[in-house]
């Protein structure tokens, strides 16, 4: 393939693609530089966003030209964010971060310090002098642990129940169906609020409450797939050699149902993170001073904080958005590969 022939998937040649990529990159970088120095007010975040998009698409095009085939930069970035965040969150207690949780230790720190001003606190401090970066990282730790625990419980419990319902059918299925529908009959956030009101707000309890939210959908997915797979020959063959029902379910159905379940799980993780942060925002989640993104954002509601110090909302907001966005993107990819029959949003 010569350099003057078009790249795969586009009428542009390598040279043209490189030029376009560089152009976008430059424009994007210029916009971001402008935002960081000159532009203020409402236009600021918008210009920043536009600049970021340009830089990313520019880089994507450069990569396309370099590798001679289209690179899905966004998915890789999303994966990088999620993995990076996960690693940092895991190692949080041992990282050399400024104080983010204990207000007495941070008494001497300046309050409401602006972020990105090259100080000791790269993302600023909140009203109690606690470092925002550290809080965001610990907030990530809380969110990720809670959501992942909830999803694992949801997949395991929901998957098993669904497989039983889908394979055994008849009365059991009917009963499970009614119970599942009963859970689904209550709007998710209401159910969450009700549960949170009863239980103590610990990480374990919130994870449990969230798992109650996901179990019904997992049951549905597992059941539908179990019904479909149960009609295939390999299940019939297992029964024909005398395998018990439990064995058939465990050895034949569960492994096959696992993939669509996983893709459903990937898609649900972001929903759980949103649910958990909403709960924290309402004050029903993990209480202060333990940071979660939700309660960090709700700090801005006191007095005129959100108007005077918008970064109190924006710093955890950006973390929240990037994480949810990345999980959404990865979830869609997972669905495309593992469960193509499901409805696409």
């Amino acid at each position: 393939m010569t350099d003057s022939s078009p790249l795969r998937g586009t009428p542009l040649t390598r040279g043209q693609m490189t030029r376009r990529g560089l152009g976008r990159l430059a424009l994007g970088a210029a916009l971001i530089a402008a935002v960081l120095t000159v532009v203020e007010g409402v236009l600021g975040p918008l210009a920043f966003l536009a600049g970021l998009v340009l830089v990313c698409t520019g880089a994507g095009r450069l990569l396309w030209a370099w590798r001679r085939s289209k690179v899905d930069l966004l998915s890789w970035l999303a994966l990088a964010w999620v993995v990076g965040l996960g690693v940092v969150a895991l190692l949080a207690p041992w990282l050399p971060l400024p104080e983010g949780r204990n207000a007495t230790v941070a008494l001497s720190e300046p309050i409401y310090l602006e972020p990105l001003k090259f100080s000791d606190h790269p993302l600023g401090t909140n009203g109690a002098g606690l470092d925002m970066l550290s809080r965001a990282v610990f907030g990530a730790r809380a969110s990720l642990i809670i959501s992942l625990t909830a999803i694992v419980i949801g997949v395991v419990v929901g998957g098993l129940i669904g497989v039983v319902a889908g394979y055994v059918r008849k009365g059991t299925d009917r009963g499970i169906g009614i119970v599942t529908n009963a859970f689904l009959a209550v709007p998710p956030l209401i159910l969450l609020v009700a549960l949170a009101a009863i239980l103590d707000p610990t990480m374990r309890n919130i994870a449990l409450a969230l798992s109650v939210l996901t179990i019904p959908s997992m049951v549905r997915v597992a059941r539908a797939n179990a019904i479909a797979f149960a009609q295939r020959e390999f299940v019939l063959a297992a029964r024909a050699i005398g395998a018990s029902r439990a064995r058939v379910m465990l050895r034949e159905l569960v492994p096959n149902v696992a993939l669509p379940l996983m893709s459903m799980a990937m898609v649900s993780i972001s929903a759980l993170i949103v649910a958990e942060s909403s709960l924290s925002f309402l004050g029903l989640g993990i209480p202060q001073p333990e940071p979660t993104w939700g309660n960090m954002i709700s700090e801005a509601q006191s007095g005129t904080t959100m108007y005077d110090h918008p970064f109190i909302v924006i710093v955890p907001g950006v973390f929240l958005f990037l994480t949810v966005f990345s999980f959404n993107l990865l979830g869609e990819e997972a669905q495309r590969r593992w469960d193509p029959r499901s409805v696409k949003l």
């Binding site: 209550v186 956030l189 609020v193 949103v274 959100m306 949810v324 409805v343």
Partner: protein
């Protein structure tokens, strides 16, 4: 649909509602703490607590209390709040319900009004610039939790631009314009969380429909593109939209909770949250039950109306 299936459906519906009501009732009994102490305060003589407990019926078994409560519910008596002024739960609900319904309804309407043209515009040239822009922005919007979007909008409108009030509510009966002014931002927040989903699903559906032969046949009749889009493509795709409306009800109710909290609006969501925080369990029971009831009824209604709208699903007697 034939009567047998209809009866079955109704039976399942009743079973689900019963189960929900029991679940709600039972959950509340799990709340730690003694309601009698919560009402009277601590340090009182034990006989007072006993008397109150007997008065509230707390000395009976869970099942008995459940059936008592259920009996009351079926006659319209949802009990009384245990927090002063101890008004009737049904009164509290009746005053909070219109607020939430108005928010939800307006939110849906705004979302549909925004989503339908956007989806049509994007589907007209799949893969084109508009389509990709719409796809990217809706995907981004999907990833912003509604409380965050709400807060950002407040920061934008109320602070920067100085428009629209931050909180409180003006009833429709008192002032129409005042009502709309206070409703604008909350409705916008609610609509935003639905617009993204509606636009994406409708756009996908339209793209598929536009590839059908009858669309080509319509074009071949000389119909202008916008008429083909609205007259031919939109009609079959609207069934998806109707299903979407039903599915989004649950998310909508969640959004109203957040929005009512954000803007301090006296709706059902606030009612549930504050009474949950205060341990006012009769109100929690009643409110959650009413919400679940509405939700289930709406979903069933959507299912049934499907048969009315799509002539293909109607029974054809040849």
């Amino acid at each position: 649909m034939n009567p047998r299936a209809g009866l079955n459906r109704l039976g399942e519906l009743a079973a689900v509602l019963l189960l929900v009501s029991f679940g709600v009732f039972f959950m509340v009994t799990l709340v730690p703490g003694d309601p009698a102490v919560a009402i009277l305060g601590s340090g009182k003589p034990p006989e007072m607590y006993e008397a109150l407990r007997e008065e509230l019926g707390l000395d009976q078994s869970v099942l008995t209390r459940y059936f008592d409560w259920l009996g009351g519910v079926l006659t319209g008596d949802l009990g009384h709040s245990i927090v002063p002024p101890q008004s009737a739960v049904s009164d509290r609900i009746l005053s909070a319900l219109p607020v939430s319904l108005e928010l939800a309804f307006l939110g849906l309407v705004v979302a549909v009004v925004l989503a339908v043209p956007l989806a049509m515009w994007a589907a007209a040239k799949p893969g084109g610039t508009v389509d990709r822009l719409v796809g990217a922005s809706t995907f981004g919007l999907l990833s912003v939790p509604s409380f965050l979007a709400g807060l950002l909008l407040i920061m934008l409108f109320v602070n920067e631009l100085g428009l629209f009030p931050r909180s409180q509510w003006v009833r429709m009966g008192d002032s129409f314009t005042g009502n709309l002014e206070h409703a604008f931002l909350p409705v916008l927040v609610i609509a935003l969380s639905e617009v993204a989903v509606f636009t994406r699903v409708l756009r996908n559906d339209l793209v598929v429909t536009l590839q059908e032969d009858f669309v080509l046949a319509s074009r071949a009749k000389g119909m202008p593109p916008w008429r083909v889009m609205v007259g031919d493509a939109l009609r079959p795709s609207s069934f998806t939209l109707v299903t979407l409306l039903g599915i989004s009800t649950g998310r909508l109710i969640g959004s109203t909770v957040i929005v009512e909290y954000l803007f301090s609006l006296p709706g059902m969501g606030s009612l549930v949250v504050t009474s949950a925080q205060n341990g006012d369990f009769p109100v929690v029971q009643g409110a959650v039950l009413v919400i679940a009831f509405i939700y289930v009824v709406v979903n069933t209604g959507i299912d049934l109306s499907y048969g009315l709208i799509d002539p293909r699903t109607r029974r054809v007697h040849d």
